[in-house]
């Protein structure tokens, strides 16, 4: 017979791959027992993590991310897009549903941070603040039998890079999903220079023990090849185009450009990030290409290479081919990912 006694676990990942870390998180949430409580600490190398119901094209600059080798990841929890690097420490409280207690979980984080002589406070709006500035954003996921609460702790993250990847200036996408909210943020190290990621991990473990009691066991995840087959399966999902892009709620996209043959406007309705409807307007004298283009786009993925190849392989006259080639190479199609 299973005991009802609460059992605490400490879990750490030594891998900086966001897809791996999110797969471990999901695996733990799927396998946790009702009487278990886990503190999981992890870090991602340069990554934009979007909320479960967000649209990457709307929330981040995919072109800048590709150029700088910044990864894109989608988490299960709600909320807005965040930028992670190794100056940021992530925590997750994974619990059986009955044990989930946000106030108590937040107490661990606030206690850990305040052990450095600071005065951090929960804002009530999912953020933990220091002197009115956010250093920790929190988000929540509720499954059938387990829940999790996770968040970021900015220690010495590169704030300048953040704006390169979040909130692209060209708003060509209107999404039915959740929008991100910009916040004034602060690195803890700028207020308290002695804080490092390593020291923060120790402080959080100590704070957890004070609030919940000692850990029964600790586990460490590191290499993908050593991971449980279920984690590998989740990794396949987390790294897939279907999850990162295709899980976006339906949205509309709009492109326009002008060439020596005329102007073109393309409006698309996307479901599961595939083109469900396309409308092409042009003032070109030769309009034969527009119908062919519309037809060819239907059902295609909203992805640069796929659209480019689709447009370039449309059967058309020489004159139409030239127009289609211009459209295929349209600058605005480049950032699609």
């Amino acid at each position: 017979m299973k005991s009802n006694k609460q059992i605490n676990f400490y879990v750490e990942s030594g891998n900086l791959d966001p897809w791996f870390n999110l797969s471990v998180e999901e695996y733990l949430a799927e396998t946790i027992e009702p009487n278990q409580m886990m503190l999981y600490l992890w870090q991602n190398k340069d990554t934009v993590v979007i909320g479960s119901n967000q649209n990457p094209w709307k929330e981040c600059s995919i072109q800048n991310m590709k150029a700088d080798e910044v990864s894109l990841a989608r988490r299960l929890s709600g909320g807005g897009a965040v930028y992670h690097d190794t100056g940021n420490l992530n925590f997750t409280f994974i619990t059986g549903k009955e044990l989930y207690n946000l106030e108590k979980q937040l107490e661990v984080i606030v206690r850990g941070v305040n052990s450095f002589g600071l005065n951090a406070q929960f804002s009530g709006r999912n953020d933990i603040l220091l002197e009115g500035k956010k250093f920790s954003g929190n988000a929540y996921f509720f499954g059938d039998t387990s829940s999790y609460h996770h968040g970021t702790i900015l220690i010495n993250a590169d704030m300048n890079r953040l704006s390169n990847y979040l909130n692209p200036s060209k708003q060509k996408i209107s999404s039915k999903g959740i929008d991100s909210v910009k916040s004034r943020v602060v690195n803890l190290q700028s207020v308290c220079p002695e804080i490092t990621v390593k020291k923060m991990k120790t402080a959080l473990k100590d704070a957890f023990r004070q609030v919940y009691g000692d850990f029964e066991a600790c586990s460490h995840f590191e290499a993908l090849e050593d991971a449980h087959p279920d984690i590998l399966k989740l990794y396949e999902k987390h790294s897939s185009w279907q999850w990162l892009y295709g899980e976006s709620p339906s949205f509309d996209a709009y492109f326009e450009d002008s060439f020596d043959w005329g102007e073109i406007q393309i409006g698309l309705n996307l479901v599961d990030a595939r083109i469900e409807n396309a409308k092409v307007y042009s003032d070109a004298l030769n309009t034969g290409f527009a119908g062919k283009l519309t037809k060819a786009l239907l059902g295609k993925r909203f992805a640069t290479e796929e659209l480019r190849l689709t447009i370039q392989s449309i059967e058309a006259s020489q004159e139409e081919k030239k127009i289609l080639q211009d459209i295929a190479l349209m600058k605005e199609l480049n950032p699609l990912g």
């Binding site: 909320g51 479960s52 119901n53 929890s77 709600g78 929540y140 829940s147 959740i178």
Partner: protein
């Protein structure tokens, strides 16, 4: 007979939310426990799974719609 799936309760007593990703469409057959859609509130993201087996007759909500407790989300028959 069609089974109405309503938003009975939201996590952590949230009063209203927004429909997130809808994973199925009318006409799709679903098994018990299969993911139907997500509802996101300020309190977090919740996955709504099917409690019955059947075919989706109609979705009463679309992605991005605001919803509150008691609203009918879809019908399965």
């Amino acid at each position: 007979m069609a089974t109405k799936i309503t938003l009975d309760k939201m996590e952590k007593n949230a009063k209203q939310g927004k429909i997130g990703k809808i994973s199925k469409k009318a006409g799709d057959s679903v098994k018990k426990g299969e993911k139907l859609l997500q509802v996101e509130s300020v309190k977090g993201n919740t996955i709504i799974k099917s409690k019955v087996e059947g075919t989706i007759k109609e979705f009463m909500v679309s992605e991005g719609d605001k919803v509150k407790i008691g609203d009918t989300l879809l019908e399965i028959e």
